[in-house]
């Protein structure tokens, strides 16, 4: 377990500055009477300033759990059972309630998946922007209102919709409003949890280019979570692929798309039509994600893997750097695999 984190630390010099966020060996369990469900099991990654890290995987792989654990907004039965989450020099997992209240949104904000559900239906959009500005003591009431209007402007909503209620906005506008709220305190890092999933394709495109544009202007980092790899092509710097609560591959976006190493990543790649126009057969991945109450032994992907050898079912493959900045947790690239 210690391997990926120590190895990662060695490679820190590859990035221009001290990483903004450093997640090490994060464990999140859902406690049930039948035992813990290991939703996140030893996840480590860094996000640097200005970087966009894509976190991709099938639904239920734990990617949203990671996101919510970073802000500690998961509710029991979910509990964090281990690891460190450093933002700057502070460990989020050690923060008190007051520290957390100050940290949240000011340092890391979040764009939720469904804007319809993420906006309070009985409060105006304007007030939902203002309250976070006021809560963090940034401004007074009048200034906050001014700032809220500016924010709507920035995301392309008319300023006079400040007093609109969420139900009075279209789906796309609502998602923009949610982004405006996330921008309110100008945080250095934004978590985007499937920000476009609920939208139709045209609006999805608009929102994605908007996010790209905002990022260019404001320079914040993004942890971009999605099940749809095609969304990550243009926006992300690096991509981490999650499977069954663990990161199985982590590399630059270019490497992931051009030379995916993990059989699971390869499967994901062939699950969606190529954007470059070449027609490839959609093979997909046979089988279903495992039950995390009792995850498969050894490599968690082994029941669905066509390269599986008996020894792979016993030994857990560590996440290792097989090429420069290309990390994979797969026996095909370890001594175990070579010997087998």
């Amino acid at each position: 377990m210690a391997t990926p984190s120590s190895r990662l630390r060695e490679s820190e010099h590859n990035y221009p500055a001290e990483p903004l966020l450093r997640v090490r060996d994060l464990h999140v369990h859902y406690l049930t009477p039948r035992g813990p469900v290991r939703a996140v099991d030893g996840v480590s990654f860094d996000i640097s300033r200005g970087e966009v890290l894509g976190l991709a995987g099938e639904s239920g792989c734990g990617k949203s759990t990671v996101a919510q654990a970073l802000l500690r907004i998961l509710q029991p039965p979910a509990v964090i059972t281990g690891g460190e989450v450093h933002f700057g020099d502070r460990d989020i997992l050690e923060m008190s309630d007051d520290e957390l209240a100050r940290f949240r949104w000011k340092d890391v904000s979040m764009v939720f998946q469904s804007a319809m559900n993420a906006l309070n239906p009985v409060i105006t959009v304007g007030e939902q922007i203002e309250d976070v500005i006021i809560a963090h003591g940034a401004m007074g009431k009048l200034e906050a209102r001014q700032r809220a209007a500016d924010l709507l402007d920035i995301v392309g909503i008319e300023r006079n919709r400040l007093d609109a209620y969420p139900h009075q906005l279209s789906g796309g506008m609502r998602q923009r409003a949610v982004i405006a709220i996330a921008l309110a305190l100008n945080p250095p890092l934004m978590i985007m949890d499937e920000p476009t999933t609920a939208l139709d394709v045209v609006v999805q495109k608009e929102i994605m280019s908007q996010i790209d544009e905002l990022k260019r202007q404001l320079g914040f980092s993004i942890l971009f979570i999605t099940h749809d790899l095609s969304l990550l092509v243009e926006i992300s710097t690096r991509i981490a692929i999650m499977y069954a609560g663990q990161i199985v591959e982590l590399a630059s976006a270019r490497d992931i798309f051009e030379r995916p190493l993990h059989p699971y990543t390869q499967g994901l790649m062939s699950s969606f039509p190529s954007l470059t126009g070449q027609t490839e057969a959609l093979t997909g991945i046979p089988g279903a994600p495992p039950n995390l109450l009792q995850p498969p032994s050894g490599c968690r992907f082994h029941p669905r893997c066509q390269h599986c050898k008996p020894i792979f079912t016993k030994i857990v493959p560590p996440l290792v750097e097989v090429e420069r900045d290309h990390w994979v947790a797969c026996h095909l690239y370890t001594d175990v695999g070579v010997r087998a």
Partner: protein, 346 residues
């Protein structure tokens, strides 16, 4: 009883006080005809068992009343307002009858009326609710309007007006309670029918050409039996309470012996103001105990059939071990020990 919550996930209280747990729709995503499973689980539930035991005891008292009662309940056997003694276990009434015997015989009328009204209102409510939810459109508009009008008219004044114009008696009370009480089950079952109507097994029954009433009674009804049962228990609680209220007001048959009339006579004979607590406390306790027992069974039904409540209960169970460390913060708890525990056990 366990340390977990004894509460329902979505209790609605009707104008006449019928509380019915309304399980989330997700309870019905299972395959059809697995509808009997909850009954088996109910038998193993502690709350249900406790409630059921109380009810069985009362039923036994009602059935074996002549054998159990020490005296003839109508006979004047002692001096009025005698306190409890070895001769009169619960003392005597304001006119000198044996309180215990009255209480025992009173169980018959009170429970009897409650059960008859409960069953009748549930049957009427189920028919109305099924028809409204199944046929939708105009039929639903009309039946819903009727149901809602009945629901909004305040219960007690309606009962009083209805009862006052009819000859006092057991069957009058029963009829009046049915007239005023059917609307709540109808409303609850209508909304259930509406959502079950959309399920695949109903569509396939429709396609295979089954008749409307057959689909309602053979396909939809069995799939909401737990709600029907909960609704019926709620209706019985309502009926026993409302009957007692009517009798307490003097709108029952004062010469019949029931818990309500016991309370009526206690009030009339100023049992309260001469310190004769035994003339009204036991009857009130009996009413409360029966209501509580039915309510317990209802909680149990809800606990079993309501997935949200069940998952909450399981969460509490799983967290109990870490309760102290969890504290009151709403931030995600960091329980490093829980992780190590598992690691050691792997």
């Amino acid at each position: 009883m366990s340390a977990t919550n004894q509460t329902t996930a979505a209790v609605e209280v009707s104008p006449v006080g019928q509380a019915t747990p309304v399980p989330a729709e997700a309870a019905f995503t299972g395959p059809r005809r697995r509808s009997g499973a909850w009954l088996t689980q109910l038998l193993g539930n502690r709350k249900a068992a406790f409630g059921g035991l109380i009810l069985l005891a009362f039923a036994a008292v009602a059935i074996f009343a002549p054998a159990l009662a020490p005296y003839d309940p109508t006979e004047f056997v002692g001096r009025p307002h005698r306190p409890p003694s070895s001769e009169f276990r619960l003392g005597t009434t304001g006119s000198g009858q044996d309180m215990l015997s009255q209480l025992i015989y009173g169980t018959r009328i009170s429970l009897g009326a409650g059960v008859i009204v409960g069953v009748a209102t549930t049957v009427i409510g189920a028919l109305v609710g099924l028809a409204a939810g199944y046929f939708r459109g105009r039929v639903d508009d009309f039946l819903s309007l009727l149901t809602n009008v009945m629901l909004i008219i305040p219960g007690l004044p309606l009962l009083v007006v209805l009862a006052a114009f009819l000859p006092a008696g057991f069957w009058t009370t029963v009829m009046v309670l049915i007239v005023a009480g059917w609307a709540w089950p109808a409303r609850v079952l209508r909304s259930q029918t509406l959502s079950l109507r959309e399920k695949d097994f109903v569509s396939s029954a429709l396609v295979s050409g089954e008749g409307s009433w057959r689909i309602m009674l053979r396909e939809i009804l069995p799939n909401m039996m737990s709600i029907v049962a909960a609704g019926m228990f709620g209706a019985i609680i309502y009926a026993i309470g409302a009957q007692a209220a009517l009798e307490f007001l003097g709108l029952g048959n004062p010469s019949a012996i029931s818990w309500g009339t016991i309370l009526y006579w206690a009030g009339n004979n100023a049992g309260l103001l001469v310190g004769a607590w035994w003339t009204f406390v036991p009857a009130g306790l009996c009413i409360a105990l029966v209501a509580f027992a039915f309510a317990l069974v209802n909680y149990a039904i809800d606990e079993i059939t309501n997935p949200r409540l069940r998952s909450q209960r399981e969460t509490n169970l799983a967290l109990r071990r870490h309760r102290r460390q969890l504290g009151v913060s709403r931030a995600t708890p960091v329980l490093r020990s829980a992780g190590q525990h598992r690691a050691a056990g792997d």
